[in-house]
């Protein structure tokens, strides 16, 4: 039984499938997040695959400013992800709303709508920082189980 649960935990850490949602803003973080998935950074060597389907994903990467238009979409995507899941907010806009925080249509950070596990600051953050964020989220998975 112990071997089985050990294997489950290892595989949870070794196979994080990500879902990427961009709430808008300047798309800088969006582009950097997609750069992580290219052969230059090749995150597939850690088992990370861009899923694009909340029902298959484990890690939710959110970039951009959450506004009143897309907060329902964000919540909906989060609700469709099976447990265990982790949410990573990326970039200044994802963390707090960034330079758009005073705009009337802007809600603020991602954590105003869904609980966030890891924050990756930067405008935009470097791809290495985003990979670090995912690694941090995996440590959370290990601690949870």
């Amino acid at each position: 039984m112990n071997i089985l649960s050990n294997f489950l935990q290892t595989s949870r850490i070794k196979s994080p499938w990500v879902l990427h949602f961009d709430c808008g803003s300047c798309n800088g973080c969006d582009i950097e997040t997609l750069a992580v998935l290219t052969p230059v950074y090749d995150v597939e060597r850690f088992g990370i695959i861009n899923m694009g389907n909340p029902k298959h994903a484990d890690v939710f990467l959110v970039t951009g400013t959450v506004n009143h238009r897309n907060k329902k979409v964000l919540k909906n995507l989060y609700d469709q992800m099976p447990q265990p899941r982790a949410v990573i907010a990326i970039g200044a806009c994802g963390l707090s709303g960034g330079v758009f925080r005073d705009a009337p249509n802007v809600v603020g950070g991602v954590d105003k709508v869904i609980p966030v596990d890891v924050y990756v600051p930067g405008c935009p953050p470097k791809p290495e920082a985003i990979i670090d964020g995912v690694v941090k989220a995996l440590e959370l998975f290990a601690a949870k189980s």
């Binding site: 294997f7 290892t10 595989s11 060597r45 088992g47 099976p82």
Partner: protein
């Protein structure tokens, strides 16, 4: 077969063969990554993926989905077990067909557009490769005089010399079954974020893991069918399977995805033409 042989065959069919295909899938991902100048995931990555999916929360849009995923697995496992017990090729073929249809039925039970389109594409894939498989089985019948696998193993010459064109036809069916380019229109291994992953959209968590394991069993079955073409020696058999699988990976990486019309046209026209030439040659030669 003696009872010991049956027991060994069952172990091979239920554990060893899918494990081997899991490792093969890992090697496949590694080679694909190297062809794209990447490093690629560890070779055991498919097992990690399955383990993680089994440990996730079961989430169902419709309870029939779970039922259908189990039946898909049951169909695939039964066909592989029947093959290892050297049963009738026609029986194996029909059991396999029932299994694949349940994957489609599962996707159709959910009114999500992605799932529905994926299911229809998967149906078209099934329509494309099923006639080819049956033609290959007919070819084996004409060459050996029996639908039994034992008859193939009783032959002194490898089947490949009698059915070279049917081997190519089975290669087309293998490409469709492996969900590789240019036939990856319903559930590509790559492009997870596109509509081509449609048939898997609604399966999630442990049910997705079951569907993946069933897919491994289906690959086992097709590789077993390929292995019948060189049943006389182990070295030749391993070489034949290895070369065929490597060519599949190369084709996957050098071709692009095509439309279902193209898939149906190509699979039927080339497949049926090649089969007919080979069958006529067997019949009159």
């Amino acid at each position: 077969m003696t009872s010991v042989q049956v027991f060994l065959a069952l172990i091979a069919a239920l554990f060893l063969a899918p494990m081997a295909v899991g490792v093969l899938t890992g090697v496949d991902r590694r080679i694909t990554a190297r062809l794209q100048s990447r490093l690629g995931p560890p070779i055991l990555q498919p097992f990690y993926d399955i383990g993680k999916l089994l440990g996730k929360e079961p989430m169902l849009a419709n309870h029939w989905l779970a039922f259908c995923s189990f039946l898909y697995l049951a169909g695939a496992v039964t066909s592989v077990v029947l093959f290892f017990l050297q049963a009738d090729l026609l029986l194996i073929f029909f059991v396999q067909a029932v299994g694949s249809v349940f994957l489609v039925i599962g996707a159709l039970t959910v009114p999500s557009p992605y799932s529905q389109i994926g299911a229809h594409r998967e149906l078209l894939q099934i329509i494309a490769y099923e006639p080819l498989l049956i033609l290959v089985i007919v070819g084996i019948f004409l060459a050996t005089g029996s639908f039994k696998i034992e008859a193939v193993y009783a032959m002194e010459q490898p089947l490949l010399f009698k059915l070279p064109l049917l081997f190519l036809v089975l290669g087309i069916a293998l490409t469709i079954k492996l969900r590789k380019s240019p036939f990856d229109i319903s559930a590509s291994h790559h492009a997870h974020q596109e509509i081509v992953r449609g048939v898997y959209t609604e399966y999630s968590g442990p049910y997705l893991a079951i569907v993946e394991i069933a897919h491994w069993f289906e690959i086992v079955l097709i590789l077993c069918l390929l292995s019948l073409f060189w049943s006389t020696g182990v070295v030749g058999l391993v070489l034949l399977l290895g070369i065929t699988y490597f060519v599949e990976i190369l084709v996957d990486n050098t071709t692009s995805r095509m439309t279902w019309r193209w898939m149906l046209g190509t699979a039927w026209i080339t497949g049926i033409t090649f089969s007919l030439i080979n069958l006529l040659w067997l019949y009159y030669g």
